[in-house]
């Protein structure tokens, strides 16, 4: 077994004058979950497409399971599984037919393809729906079916491109459990996500990617340290007094803080001293006579990571703004 399951060196890819990847270096150890975290348009899908042999890089090289993604594309396809950003299932086939077809395309004999399909559908609780056409499946079921398809070939390395985007909260949690189970079985997983909390829960290591570049890499704890643990978020009633309020509170935590000029939100990283800093902030602002609209401690989101790493908010693409804020949890206020 290679000591790195995935290794990329200065991957570059452009589409016309859009530079999707501007030199991406990644290393993923066997049997770990690696989270590629970034906003829409960061280059996550492009990276996954290169690593799964769908797209050739313009420059740089990449190896997966010891195979060069360009030179050894054919043998590589035997050991990878891909669940793309949209559930790639044939709506007119039943769940069983979908998985059997993929099994046959891995060149399994018909009875073996059938056996594996039945087994895998059972495992992902799709047995009852196995004989219905995929058209009748819910979004969560389609995603699970898609995942089944990516697992028929018993891949050593599994690629999941935004596996929970668009799922309802319950299906999302189910998907998380599945991913953890697969990891326990020894599968190396590279997953992409726009949600820090998702990467935090699932990944052993995270790379934060922004407009085609990795801007930070490390364990979830290391990354959260760079943001400063939890975040105190403050909004004042009178927007003209944001500056004054910021002057009172920025400095309270271990790592400065920032003001979002668009929303007027002041964020202060608080490490593990959330309650103490919250109390102090309320006291100071009260003394200064600044009326509060909202004050809350929350876990850091992708936006906070970006703010801490780059000093600007994550560039939002065409996804609804709300998505970036999933990680928020209001505690006090």
């Amino acid at each position: 077994m290679p000591d790195q399951m995935i290794r990329t060196e200065s991957l570059r890819k452009s589409f016309g004058d859009v530079h999707a990847l501007k030199g991406v270096d990644l290393e993923v150890e066997p049997a770990t979950v690696f989270g590629l975290l970034g906003p829409n348009g960061a280059g996550k899908t492009t990276t996954v497409r290169i690593l799964t042999t769908l797209l050739a890089p313009d420059e740089g090289r990449a190896e997966v399971a010891g195979f060069d993604v360009v030179r050894d594309a054919e043998p590589l396809r035997h050991v990878i599984g891909l669940a793309g950003q949209s559930a790639a299932v044939d709506e007119n086939l039943t769940g069983l037919e979908n998985i059997e077809m993929v099994g046959r395309l891995y060149h399994l004999a018909a009875p073996e393809a059938r056996r594996r399909a039945v087994e895998i559908l059972g495992r992902f609780e799709l047995s009852e729906a196995a004989h219905r056409t995929a058209k009748t499946y819910s979004g969560g079921m389609r995603r699970r079916l898609d995942l089944c398809a990516s697992l028929v070939g018993r891949p050593t390395v599994l690629f999941l491109d935004e596996p929970t985007t668009g799922l309802d909260p319950r299906s999302r949690i189910e998907m998380w459990e599945i991913i953890r189970e697969l990891q326990n079985e020894g599968t190396t997983i590279l997953l992409t996500t726009q949600y820090l909390d998702e990467a935090d829960r699932l990944a052993d290591r995270i790379a934060v990617i922004d407009v085609g570049r990795v801007i930070a890499e490390g364990t979830p704890t290391e990354l959260k340290m760079r943001v400063g643990g939890e975040v105190l978020a403050i909004r004042v009633v009178d927007r003209s007094r944001v500056g004054e309020a910021a002057g009172q509170v920025l400095g309270l935590g271990p790592g400065g803080g920032s003001v979002d000029n668009n929303t007027g939100e002041i964020t202060v990283p608080v490490g593990d001293q959330g309650p103490a800093i919250l109390t102090e902030a309320v006291r100071r602002l009260d003394r200064a006579g600044v009326a509060l609209a909202d004050i809350a401690l929350r876990r850091p989101t992708l936006d906070d990571v970006f703010m801490a790493l780059t000093g600007h908010a994550a560039e939002e693409g065409d996804q609804p703004k709300e998505n970036g804020k999933r990680g928020r949890r209001r505690r006090r206020g």
Partner: protein
């Protein structure tokens, strides 16, 4: 040494060929299932040519008789044209099907699998050819019901039928290229019609070409649809063919066009599929 290498290569080539056929067949079946489960796909695309036949035979038929040699019913003249038209229109489904698979991410899934690179296209064009055969045969039944008769014997008639199916097959590859490059169902549909129009309608398919203005006659003469239809008329009408029976010349020209389309569009489509 070199003997073992050669032997290994032969095994490798043999295995590749086996996979190409096996994987192509898996996808052919998959596409045929879609036709069976979504019968509207076939029903609607068959209704249109049936209406064409009824329109041409009953509405234009009377007037058209004047332009034809005595003793040649219009329906007998018309049907070879209708068969080719039906085959070509039915072939557009190849482009539509590929565009759908691209949009849904199925093509990405297939390309990430260790399957034969040719299978998506061969499975698509083969299944669509079966659908073409179904529609052409259905047209034949309708044709017989409205009075269509062979004038040159059954074997030649069957050869004409096989010819019409080959034309459809060749066009599936043309539409495969359209599907892969346009990537959207609507765009493929619009482009297909534009692509088809000058071939099917500016030809001798529905009326004798000698009534056309001079410039149109020049185009019609080299238009493969005219050449195919004239060939099939040789085969179904014999000496009654108003374009003049000339079977041998027509046959080789037809074959040349058929091969030319395949030689151009198969490699282009396969290359584009690999790169998409």
């Amino acid at each position: 040494m070199s003997a073992t290498i050669t032997a290994e290569r032969t095994v490798d080539t043999e295995r590749r060929l086996r996979y190409a056929i096996g994987d192509g067949w898996v996808l052919t079946k998959r596409n045929l299932i879609t036709y069976v489960r979504k019968p509207d796909l076939l029903v609607f695309s068959t209704i249109q040519p049936v209406m064409f036949v009824l329109l041409f035979v009953y509405v234009f038929g009377g007037a058209m008789k004047l332009a034809l040699p005595a003793g040649l019913p219009y329906v007998d003249f018309l049907m070879p044209g209708i068969f080719v038209q039906t085959a070509i229109f039915a072939a557009t489904q190849t482009g539509v099907g590929l565009a759908e698979d691209l949009k849904k991410g199925l093509v990405d899934r297939f390309r990430s699998l260790p399957m034969a690179r040719s299978a998506v296209l061969s499975g698509r064009t083969l299944a669509d050819s079966a659908a073409i055969a179904f529609q052409v045969v259905l047209m034949l039944v309708v044709a017989v019901l409205v009075g269509f008769r062979l004038h040159a014997g059954l074997p030649k008639g069957l050869l004409a039928l096989a010819g019409a199916l080959s034309v459809g097959y060749a066009f599936t590859w043309m539409f495969a290229l359209a599907g892969l490059s346009l990537k959207s169902v609507e765009a493929v549909q619009a482009a297909s019609f534009t692509l088809i129009f000058p071939f099917v309608f500016a030809s001798s398919a529905f009326v004798p070409a000698d009534t056309f203005p001079h410039w149109l006659q020049s185009w019609s003469k080299v238009n493969p649809v005219s050449i195919w239809v004239d060939t099939f008329r040789d085969l179904t009408l014999g000496h009654l063919n108003p374009a003049g029976e000339n079977l041998m010349t027509h046959l080789w020209q037809s074959t040349a066009w058929f091969l030319a389309i395949l030689v151009i569009f198969v490699p282009l489509s396969v290359r584009l599929y690999r790169k998409t």
